[in-house]
Amino acid sequence: MSSTGSPGTHEALGHAACRREPIDTAAVLRAVGHVAAGGNVLFVGTARGTTDGVATSLLEYDAHEPLALATLDDLRRDAIARFDLVACAVVHRLGIVPPGEACVAVATSAPHRAAAFAAAEWLMAAIKRDVPIWKAEERPDGRRAWLHPESAPRPGGRP
């Protein structure tokens, strides 16, 4: 992991992005590397081949891209402030995602590991709750269903 930037630039370290190509997860982890950080966590959400016992041939993600990107970056900066991170990066895949490939990657770094773990877990929960991105699961029979969970609140509670 390489050293980047100086301690004074912590708030700006890392980035938020949406990509239609495969996510370079190693690059997401590298983006949070810093000599001030001893704990580095990378979470990668991958498309499973089955969900609740039903085979999934592929996933598709749709998004309100400008709002999704702004929300991802807001959450990234929130995570840095809440958990006193050295850096934080997040990349979400859009479009078709075959089984086994990465849908989302979140990386956090902090002086010690507890903050890096807590921030990555918090950020993943926040992304699933707040970012205007939607997933469809396509079954082998070709049926594709967009997920708009009944249990989810109307979006925008966190503007």
Binding site: G45, Y61, D62, A63, H64, P66, L67, A68, A70, H92, C103, V104, M124, I127, K128, R129, D130, V131, P132, I133, W134, K135, A136, A145, W146, L147, H148, P149, E150, A152, P153, R154, P155, G156, P159
Partner: protein, 90 residues
């Protein structure tokens, strides 16, 4: 009375829709004649034109220029409007 009913020269309101909402309305943009009104008025019009989308619409938010807005917010033709249904990313 619909906002468009008393528009002598009705402009067009374009609303971006996504995911399951796009499937339900049969496209990624809803276009409606529009002179003036609020988000609540737009909700009513969309539900009337796309009854199959009414239930999901009731659980959705509106955004203008990448900012969430409430039902009292005025909408003008030309605004960058989007309907944001419950999310499922990550």
């Amino acid at each position: 009375m619909h906002p468009s009913d008393h528009a002598h020269r009705a402009a067009t309101l374009r609303i971006a829709v996504f995911a399951g909402m796009a499937d339900l309305v049969g496209g990624r943009t809803i276009e409606m004649p529009w002179s003036s009104g609020t988000v609540a008025d737009a909700r009513g019009l969309v539900a009337e034109r796309h009854p199959a989308a009414a239930a999901l619409l009731a659980r959705s938010a509106f955004a203008i220029d990448s900012r969430y807005v409430g039902d009292d917010e005025p909408l003008a033709a030309g605004d960058d409007v989007a309907i944001i249904p419950p999310v499922s990313g990550g």
